[in-house]
């Protein structure tokens, strides 16, 4: 239990509807030794989050089915303690403002600086 709990504590959830982006982020975080749980669909992630403890989620806020903002809103209700890192491919000021209001720990424009991104994820996990 403690192991599994430990494992879950290190796990980083990824949400992006662009498969190649999702996969590349998975590789990137894996290269730093993070445990990664990727989700291609926002709905799948929300389902997972409702049943498991999710310490950190990295999500796009521009997705076909459920927007990143909607996701964030629902995540707040399901798992208020989950730390959110937002990545987006487009500069949508309104969306960005809303996302910031919900309180992400970091915000990145695609493409982003890998070191800063990894640093943000590490900070979110409170990992040295």
């Amino acid at each position: 239990m403690s192991n599994s709990s430990e494992a879950q504590a290190d796990e980083v959830c990824l949400v992006d509807d662009d498969v190649s982006v999702l996969q590349s982020m998975h590789y990137l975080l894996a290269s730093e030794g993070f445990k990664v749980r990727p989700f291609n669909k926002a709905e799948d992630f929300l389902t997972y989050a409702s049943k498991n403890r999710v310490p950190v989620v990295v999500t796009d806020i521009w997705m076909d089915q459920v927007t990143g903002l909607e996701l964030l809103a629902r995540l707040c209700a399901i798992s208020p303690k989950t730390k959110v890192i937002v990545i987006t491919a487009r500069e949508d000021l309104a969306a960005r403002a809303t996302a910031m209001a919900i309180g992400p720990v970091a915000f990145f424009m695609k493409p982003f600086d890998d070191e800063k991104f990894i640093g943000a994820v590490r900070d979110a996990l409170n990992r040295p």
């Binding site: 590789y27 990137l28 290269s31 493409p111």
Partner: protein
């Protein structure tokens, strides 16, 4: 009788002759001295008859005088008889008269010579011979008395003795008779003189002019009654220096005593001739004074020495007063002409009228513009209380003299305000003012409108006299002019004020265009049109301010309106220096003379920019929504392109980074590395695909195509950006080919293309002066199977070497530009099977030409459907 006898008789003794001579001389002396004392012909005759009879021995002497018409001689009542018994002959003589040549007197009368009759009884020409026989008369002699060549009397002497004709005696008697004639003439002259004197006296007494004669010491010799009346008293002896004071003589200023050395009489006495000197005279009998005009002449003796002077004084008081009255009227009229205030004019008028009659007071009241109430006009000599009470009183059929006169439009004569019913409400006032009679006459404008009333007041109960009626006529006439003029002024002033107020607040320009090409414009107008305040305006200058696009149309409308109905109205834009534009409404009216020739065109221009802006705002707001949608869509497209591109780039970056990290740590999974590399290649290809393949993205939407009329799409799209065009003070002109074929296309995408091109063009001309910020959109059909749309600007133009570089991705000449617009445009155009080219026209600017294939088979069908 023979001549010898006569000689013997005549040759008497020398002594006798001497004695006779002495007697005759004594007779002459006696008669001459006595005649001098005779006062008239009758007494002179008596003297002569008596002395001749007594001294020369004649028994009877009598005289004959011609009657009035000179046809007969009549026996005069004076006669002398030396003896007692000759009465009968005298009676016989008195009973007779003689014609010329008849009897002794007739003979003398005719011959004008003495006649001697030696025997009157037997003389053939002596009709009284019977009486002479009875009286025993024997000798008779007749002597004529001549005055000049006229016989004025015939003397007749008789005696009983026979006496020879004695020439000497006849001569003596003739000499005496000549004396008599002399006396007679003298007396006659004196009588004439006294008659002339009488006439003169009569003239002097009765003439209207005053006549005064004074000797050289200033003693009055003549002071006729008219002069006495004029100067209040008659002649009194005093030094000339006291005359002015004593008789009340003043200079025309009415107060300065007339300097005595300048008085007409003084000057006349000095020898001057004085003409028409006007003098004012005031004394107890003429307390208001009178005016006299004096002419004076010196009086000189036959030797030319100054004896004194005479003056003739004419009373010109009436003439003078009339003159003053007319001058007063002129003064009031001048005040009116000089735009003195109505109060001043009316006051002067009232005072002038009051001066014309003793005890007269006048007032002028005005009718309020409501036509129902009285307003104070002028009443300088009526009590304040009365003036205040009347001001604001209503007019009506029983409202005093004035209120009634204005109401009935007829003169109202009230002889006693204390009993007249019209004054029932005003008796208290009348008592205070001590008024008894009040006559009021309405003052009527030339148009027949009642303006007020003129009233005369008197303290005695009576009606107006003709002179007062005359004054009233003059007063109402002048007052009418004054009030009417003031009203016109008021109306003009109000109208002016209203117009200028309206003009100021409504941004209204006034202007006048003259047929010769000159023009005038109000200051406000010059500001609206951007003309310098001292610029000489012409019609062409004003026309040149109209926006070039609308100038021809406005001119055409002006010509059409003026020729059709003499008016025109046009709403258009002005194009001002420094690129400002204004929306204006211009309204004009042509003024013509009676022959229909154009005199001028007057009108106004209303600046409606603000309203237009507001109206546009409403229209624009609606369009703004659509516009924003378009802009959002554009942004969206750009953003989605960016998103599409960023995704593979992100993936590549992540994968590369991951590979590097695995390698650095030496825990690289040999299977993973090729996968990462493979993934990076794939994502790179995908990125290229995104950039190249916007076409496919577009194609997704192009599926919904319709048949479009590009002309109307252009019109709609221009309207969509009209607010931008206006804000940027630019002009977009559409030159559209009406025969343009329809094209099958997606409306939204074609609008996207046009918007892009127009916005680009607006950006391109942004830095130019407003007058050059022009964009021309034109369409034309190329052989019927291609619809060509070109957008041309006059900006900086495209890259010289390769104008089509603009279609490259990320190329931009704009600082803010992303360089995405034209690639998208080209993608859209090409997705529709068309082409887009960019070129630099020969002069300057840029031209983008879009060519889209026309709908061949569908043209007819769609037209039929439409």
């Amino acid at each position: 009788m023979s001549s010898d006898d006569r000689k013997s008789r005549l040759s008497r003794s020398a002594e006798q002759t001497r004695k006779e001579s002495e007697e005759q001389l004594s007779l002459l002396q006696t008669i001459t001295s006595e005649l001098a004392a005779a006062t008239d012909l009758s007494s002179a005759l008596k003297i002569v008859l008596r002395h001749v009879c007594e001294k020369t021995g004649w028994a009877l002497g009598q005289a004959w005088l011609p009657n009035e018409d000179g046809s007969i001689l009549v026996c005069d009542s004076d006669w002398f008889c030396g003896e007692d018994d000759l009465q009968d002959f005298r009676v016989a003589s008195e009973a007779r008269h003689f014609e010329r040549g008849i009897g002794l007197p007739g003979r003398v009368w005719e011959s004008k010579q003495p006649a001697w009759v030696e025997d009157v009884v037997n003389d053939p020409n002596f009709p009284r011979s019977a009486a002479a026989r009875t009286a025993s008369l024997k000798t008779g002699v007749g002597i004529p008395i001549l005055s000049g060549n006229q016989v004025i009397a015939v003397l007749e002497f008789f005696m009983r003795e026979s006496r020879d004709q004695n020439e000497r005696l006849v001569n003596v008697i003739a000499a005496v008779a000549a004396q008599l004639n002399l006396v007679m003439e003298q007396k006659h002259a004196v009588k004439e003189l006294s008659r002339i004197n009488e006439i003169l006296q009569s003239i002097l007494s009765n003439m209207g002019d005053g006549v005064i004669v004074a000797d050289k010491y200033g003693n009055f010799l003549v002071f006729n009654p008219a002069a006495e009346r004029m100067f209040g008293k008659g002649a009194m002896q005093m030094p000339p220096a006291e005359w002015s004071h004593h008789y009340g003589l003043y200079l025309p200023d009415k107060v300065t005593p007339f300097p005595h050395d300048q008085l007409p009489m003084t000057r006349s006495i000095r020898g001057e001739e004085v003409d028409n000197i006007e003098m004012f005279v005031r004394h107890e009998k003429a307390p208001h004074g009178l005016w006299t005009r004096i002419t004076g002449r010196p009086l000189r003796g036959t030797d030319g020495n100054l004896l004194g002077g005479v003056i003739v004084c004419r009373d010109i008081t009436q003439i003078k007063e009339e003159e003053f009255f007319r001058a007063g009227q002129s003064r009031v009229l001048e005040m009116i002409a000089a735009d003195a205030t109505l109060a001043e004019v009316l006051k002067s008028l009232v005072l002038l009228m009051e001066e014309q009659a003793e005890g007269l007071r006048c007032s002028i009241l005005l009718l309020h513009r409501d036509g129902k109430h009285v307003r104070h006009g002028a009443a300088p000599n009526l009590p304040e209380a009365y003036v205040k009470a009347v001001d604001g009183a209503p007019i009506g059929p029983r409202n005093g003299s004035c209120g009634t006169a204005m109401f009935t439009r007829k003169p109202v004569v009230v002889t006693d305000v204390m009993s007249d019913p019209l004054w029932a409400d005003y008796r208290g006032l009348a008592r205070i003012c001590r008024l008894s009679a009040c006559w009021s006459t309405p003052i009527v404008s030339p148009q027949g409108e009642v303006l007020g009333s003129f009233a005369m007041y008197r303290e005695e109960k009576r009606g107006p006299r003709p002179e007062e009626d005359r004054l009233t006529n003059i007063a109402t006439h002048i007052a009418g002019i004054a009030i009417d003029r003031q009203r016109q002024h008021e109306i003009l002033r109000e109208r002016d004020a209203r117009i200028s107020l309206a003009a100021e607040s409504a941004d209204l320009a006034f202007w006048v265009l003259y047929p010769e090409g000159n023009a005038w414009m109000s200051d406000k107008g010059r500001r609206i049109y951007g003309f310098d305040s001292n610029l000489q305006l012409t019609c062409d200058l004003i026309l040149s301010r109209i926006h070039p696009d609308e100038r021809a149309a406005v001119k055409a409308e002006y010509d059409r309106g003026c020729s059709l109905h003499g008016t025109f109205e046009s709403e258009h834009r002005l194009f001002l220096p420094y690129g400002k534009t204004r929306w204006v409404i211009m309204r004009g009216r042509c003024l013509q003379d009676e022959h229909g020739n154009l005199l001028e065109t007057i009108g106004v221009t209303l600046d409606v920019s603000a309203q237009k802006q507001a109206a546009l705002q409403v229209q624009v707001q609606r369009e703004e929504m659509a516009h924003r949608n378009r802009v959002a869509l554009m942004g969206e497209m750009t953003a989605s392109f960016a998103h599409e591109l960023n995704q593979p780039l992100t993936a590549i970056a992540n994968n590369a980074s991951a590979a590097r990290r695995f390698l650095e740590r030496g825990n690289m999974d040999p299977v993973l590395l090729p996968q990462l590399l493979q993934q990076m290649v794939a994502d790179s290809q995908r990125a290229g695909e995104v950039i190249r393949g916007i076409r496919s993205l577009v194609r997704k939407e192009t599926s919904e195509q319709n048949l479009l009329d590009l002309n109307s799409v252009i019109t709609d799209t221009v309207r969509l950006v009209s607010s931008d065009i206006l804000n940027r003070e630019s002009v977009v002109t559409a030159d559209l080919d009406p025969h343009l074929p329809q094209v099958p296309a997606a409306l939204v995408q074609i609008q996207q293309v046009l918007l892009n091109l127009i916005i680009n063009a607006l950006d391109a001309v942004e830095r130019l002066p407003p007058s050059e910020r022009r964009i021309i959109i034109s369409t034309r059909s190329d052989k019927g199977d291609v619809a060509e749309v070109s957008v041309r600007d006059f900006g900086i133009g495209l890259p010289k070497d390769r104008p089509d570089k603009v279609f490259d991705h990320f190329f931009s000449t704009k600082q803010r530009g992303m360089g995405m617009g034209l690639p998208i445009v080209r993608s859209i155009v090409e997705a529709h099977g068309g082409t887009i080219t960019a070129e630099n026209p020969p002069d300057r600017g840029a031209r983008m030409v879009v060519r889209l294939p026309a709908a061949r088979g569908h043209v007819q069908k769609s037209k039929a459907a439409a």
